[in-house]
Amino acid sequence: MITVRNLSYAFKIGKKEKENIVPVLHHVDLQVAEGEIVAIVGRSGSGKSTLLNLISGFIKSQTGDITIDGQQVSKLSESKWAEFRLEHLGFIFQSFQLIPSMTAFENVELPLVLKGVSEKERKDQTMKMLKKVGLEKYQSHYPGELSGGQQQRVSIARALILNPPLILADEPTGSLDSENEKELLNFIKELNEKDGITFLIITHDHEVASIAHRKVEIRDGYLREGSKLHEVQR
């Protein structure tokens, strides 16, 4: 599903022409198979979020290749990346990233709107998805009127609405209490087992990492897949 080859990345910090180069990732190689749950763990500042942002296309890669679902994405233009994300990727963020002025229904419906799906079809699919995450009664609530767990479920519904084969999750339980965390992890496992969705999860939480088929550690920007030092089979 995902193939990352020889990916390196360095941030440029400071004023133009006087900027400092701060290397974050060094020659990263990573393979994620279809239907797999892979957890990328590491300390704060180790480069795991940068890796996810590169795979998401939120930052442009400098060297190396990224292939997702058979398509080489590292050289895509901004527009093509946006189209690719809409078709192939779902996102779960730590802080949910819901649009505050939109209701739960409208937030979940948004990817369908962007794709240009008809209003009737949108309504059916959105209601079905809200039902799936147990929020059909909260469809007209704004994010501010929902609990953290409910907001994360809206966020998951939005990530799933276009049936993407891959979901990228950045610290998905970071803002949840233990009960909601457990519920979310069960839901991820269920989605993976029933629908075969691939998950790439960035976390520093061992509870979260425990549901992954593979756990990949990243330390000081180095990751070598297959190495027993960095890869722990579940």
Binding site: F58, A82, S101, L110, L114
Partner: protein, 437 residues
């Protein structure tokens, strides 16, 4: 993303900042209304000037003169042969002006005309018909009020013009002159000829009365006689005044009428080629139009400055909208909205603001224009004790002005919304998701 969804999206965003959006719309409305109103003054003055020129002459009329003396029948024949000439109207002045009906007398301007040519040239009668026989005549609309009984000497002395007119009307003929027979006195205006020798008369019958002149202040008490009658009376007049002998063949006025206004230029050129001098409304209008087009362009330019000022408001509103919605933009981009979609949403929003401004501004301008044109004569009469010039309007908004104003306002609006919309596409997804923008 479908247009309907973009529209829904924009509407909900505009509703969130109603006051700010309406204030921007108000500024655009005022800018657009100012542009239209200012230019409408130029359009009104232009229209008044053109209408004024055209009220004296017809668009397809060409006045002909000759450098080498008066025009004669041979010249008329040459003019008639030119392609697209509909009629050649020609008049010969008759130096006898006195006509009577019983105790009533009038001193009128008498011209002999070629009746078929006059009809072709567009002569309109209010009553009656065109002359069919020699002694039939056509009179002007105001002929009857000039046909008066003899008034006492110095009758109007000490009276104001208005009073004099009123009193003189009491002596004027108040019946219908159609089909009345008048006595035409063969008297010439020459102090060397004794009145006693001028005793010959001709009976003429009024068969037609011309239409009222277009302007209120114009009077027409002239008389049109046939060429045949002219041929009959000129020998009589020459007997009285031999000096008139050589003037009976020349025309005092020759006017060519073309088939349509579009032919005037071409026909004028052909007439000039034959050695005549020409004058037409078309040539006068051409110069008038050049002057007024420059004048109107200047006014539109000044008005456009107001629109530009209003567009700063739109730019400001849209820049604030982009800044406020940076997080939303970032989320949308993260999910899969393309820069094109984001740009179009913001352009649509500025377009809607402009459209509302242009729509309301145009309606407001029309209302003010009607109001001014309605109220101006009342105000002038109230405060200046005078009537404004006939047909005068201070503001005129033709459809072309509306189109120009709408085009300018919408272009300026879209241009002012362009940069904020472009800025929206450059919102950094990561910064937006981290709430760093």
């Amino acid at each position: 993303m479908k247009f309907k969804d973009k529209h829904r999206f924009v509407r909900s965003n505009m509703k969130r900042n109603k006051t700010r959006v309406w204030m921007t719309i108000l500024a655009s409305t005022m800018g657009c209304a100012f542009l239209i109103m200012l230019a409408s003054v130029g359009f009104a003055i232009h229209k008044t000037a053109v209408d004024d020129v055209m009220s004296y002459r017809l668009m397809n009329e060409i006045e002909i003169q000759n450098d080498n003396g008066p025009l004669v029948e041979e010249d008329v024949k040459k003019l008639q042969d030119i392609k697209n000439v509909k009629a050649v109207s020609r008049k010969k002045y008759v130096p006898a002006s006195e006509m009577t009906l019983g105790e009533y007398t009038v001193y009128a301007e008498v011209n002999s005309v070629n009746m078929p040519s006059e009809r072709k040239a567009g002569l309109q009668l209010e009553k009656g018909r065109m002359p069919k026989s020699k002694n039939e005549i056509i009179i002007g609309h105001h002929f009857a009020q000039e046909l008066r009984k003899e008034m006492p000497e110095n009758f109007t002395e000490g009276m104001s013009d208005e009073e004099a007119q009123k009193e003189m009307k009491k002596f004027a003929y108040d019946g219908d002159l159609l089909n009345q027979t008048l006595t035409y006195h063969m008297k010439v205006d020459n102090p060397d000829i004794k009145t006693e020798t001028q005793i010959k008369t001709v009976q003429v019958k009024v068969v037609g009365i011309k239409e009222k002149p277009k302007k209120e202040w114009m009077t027409d008490s002239s008389v049109m006689i046939t060429d045949d009658l002219h041929s009959e009376i000129m020998p009589l007049l020459t007997e009285i005044d031999p000096e008139l002998k050589n003037s009976d063949d020349s025309y005092t006025s020759v006017r060519v009428y073309t088939s349509s206004a579009e032919d005037v230029k071409e026909v004028s050129e052909k007439i000039k080629d034959k050695g005549y001098l020409t004058y037409s409304v078309v040539s006068e209008l051409k110069e008038l139009n050049i002057y007024f087009t420059l004048f109107k362009a200047g006014l539109i330019f000044i008005g456009a400055i107001a629109v530009l000022i209003a567009s700063i408001g739109i730019f400001n509103t849209m820049t604030m909208a982009v800044t406020e919605r940076s997080q939303d933009i970032g989320i949308m981009k993260a999910i899969g909205a393309t820069p094109k979609t984001i740009k179009r949403i913001f352009l649509l929003e500025s377009g809607y603001i402009g459209l509302w401004g242009v729509g309301l501004g145009t309606i407001l301008a029309y209302l003010i224009s009607y109001g001014i044109n309605f109220a101006l004569p009342i105000i002038v009469e109230q405060f200046m004790n005078e009537k404004p010039p006939e047909d005068f309007i201070l503001s005129y908004i033709p459809w072309s002005l509306t189109v120009i104003a709408v085009t300018i306002c919408m272009s300026v609006t879209l241009l002012s919304g362009w940069r904020p919309a472009a800025k929206a596409t450059t919102v950094d997804v990561l910064k937006a998701l981290r709430r760093d923008v």
